[in-house]
Amino acid sequence: MDMYAEEIISHYEHPHNKGKIENASASMHEHNMVCGDDITVYVKIKGNKVDDIKFDGSGCAISTASASMLTDFAKGKSISELEKMGVSDMIGLIGVDPGPARLHCATISLKALKEALFMYAHKEPDAKTRSL
């Protein structure tokens, strides 16, 4: 299995949607103690849809590329659609299965995004999100 497919490397080198959104509707910071991945996802919501999304922070190739691809994907999607996403959706999106030791790298951006959406809705994150 080639974890470092061309697409992963190029997203890592040139991540899409990198940066902050001033006056975002919601944002969430996630930090992984073990490897030091550190990410903040900013979303701007308009009428139940993601109007704009950006991420900031630092991390490994898998976490950066995943965040880059996830933010591309999330643009224009409805909140309810994104709230349903889980591990397998993320693996499908990035096109590689990083295995158990690196799974958290692939899902850290999804976790931050979903938590931001829950926050926007004034809801507690569900168990599926907390366990990402």
């Binding site: 470092y4 490397i9 890592y12 030091g36 490994c60 190739a61 898998i62 790298c105």
Partner: protein, 414 residues
């Protein structure tokens, strides 16, 4: 005289295993070492031939088990030059050994306003127990700083801190991140002059060099069997007999008492008063042949072999573009253990370790349980680390270098 690595390797069954289809190259010895068949067989033999509880049975196999358990302690005592097995308390690991010292000696001796001195290069194991103790007691935790090279302790900082009269100086013998060998003998001498007790975290030194607790004049010395060819689940707290005598036990129960009536009891003799309940007998017995193995090869020869490998690795890495090596350079080999932390510019340590893994090479990536050192002093979120032992060869260092080249190729780095 050099050691016979080919012959040594034959004693380690796992070294002929494969990982991801490639011959296993094990370069994560600072995390845990591999085990020779002598150790594995001793544990198997105990379970299959004389499994019994110790200190209790009046029958042959129980006596044999008790003897083997005690023999293992005698080997450890001799190996680190303790006076007797009374000074050798078995714990689960280094972490538990340090916590035992903090929760017993520290509990009784550290008072509000007292100071505890540790260093900026400590493993969390030798940091968190002292944070907990100082929070609980209202004591102050001070740090010996790193020098400007971020590789060695600043001896001037040590001198200044000692003027504040700490009750305890707790210091790592060898850094698991930088590989730096601290002059614990000199530190102990200075600390004692200022009236402090000294605890040495020997997790990374005991496996790799001759340790003489008397020569160091350590009041406490902690180590883990699993990092020195032994099984997991056994650690040692060495302490001077006089200190142990005055320490209260931490855990009460069977084995640690001599007499009990309904409302009181008296403690058992040393070291048993610190070993309540049935011990990890099998792994303690397995630790014996690990010590024998190290003694047979010779700690001096092991150190020499590792020094050669470290030199070879440092020389190979220093010419590589965009590769950064942490810790002392090759001109300071005498002050450096076989631990090499490194980074590749623009690549996260986990991605480095992942590519190594695909080549069958086991290295560590992360903050190495020394977060303040790695993130605040070295300014990195994570480091990759290779660490060697007596069974490693130059050929394996070459493979690590090739793996670095592969990482650079994948990440399109010069």
């Amino acid at each position: 005289m050099g050691i016979d690595v080919k012959r040594i390797r034959r004693d380690f069954p796992i070294l002929s295993a494969r990982m991801n289809g490639k011959p296993l190259v094990y370069l994560d010895n600072a995390a845990t070492s591999q085990k020779p068949r002598q150790v594995i067989e001793a544990i198997y033999k105990y379970y299959t031939q004389y499994n019994a509880n110790i200190h209790r049975g009046i029958y042959a196999i129980a006596e044999k088990a008790t003897q083997a358990y005690t023999d293992s302690k005698a080997k450890v005592a001799k190996h680190i030059n303790a006076s007797s097995i009374e000074e050798i308390v078995y714990t689960r690991n280094t972490t538990e050994a340090i916590n035992l010292a903090a929760l017993t000696w520290g509990e009784a001796n550290i008072k509000k306003g007292d100071r505890i001195l540790i260093s900026e290069m400590e493993h969390h194991s030798n940091m968190v127990p002292w944070q907990l103790l100082s929070m609980k007691k209202g004591a102050k935790l001070d740090y010996i700083k790193l020098d400007s090279s971020n590789s060695e302790l600043d001896m001037q900082s040590l001198g200044e801190q000692l003027e504040k009269k700490p009750k305890l100086v707790a210091i790592t013998h060898v850094s698991n991140v930088l590989g730096t060998i601290n002059d614990v003998k000199e530190i102990a001498k200075m600390a004692h002059k200022h009236g402090a007790k000294v605890l040495v975290d020997g997790a990374q030194s005991a496996p790799h060099m001759k340790v003489d607790v008397k020569d160091i004049d350590a009041d406490f010395f902690a180590l883990s069997a699993h990092k020195m060819l032994g099984p997991t689940g056994i650690g040692v707290l060495y302490a001077k007999r006089d200190i142990l005598e005055h320490m209260e036990p931490l855990i009460g129960g069977g084995d640690m008492i001599s007499t009990v009536d309904f409302y009181s009891c008296t403690w058992n003799s040393l070291p048993w008063k610190f070993e309540a309940g049935t011990s990890n007998i099998a792994d303690a017995i397995g630790f014996g042949p690990a010590i024998d193995y190290l003694d047979r090869v010779g700690m001096g020869s092991i150190r020499q072999h590792e020094e050669k490998l470290t030199k070879y690795a440092l020389e190979s890495l220093e010419d590589m573009k965009n590769v950064k090596v942490f810790g002392l350079g090759k001109e300071n080999l005498k002050k450096r253990g076989a631990v090499i932390s490194f980074g590749i510019k623009g690549v996260h340590a986990h991605d480095i370790a992942q590519v190594f893994d695909s080549e069958g090479i086991a290295i560590r990536a992360g903050h190495h349980c020394a977060m303040p050192l790695v993130t605040q002093r070295l300014g990195e979120s994570a480091l990759a680390r290779m660490s060697f032992y007596l069974y490693n060869e130059e050929k394996e260092v070459d493979k690590a270098v090739q793996a670095i080249e592969k990482v650079k190729k994948i990440f399109r780095i010069d």
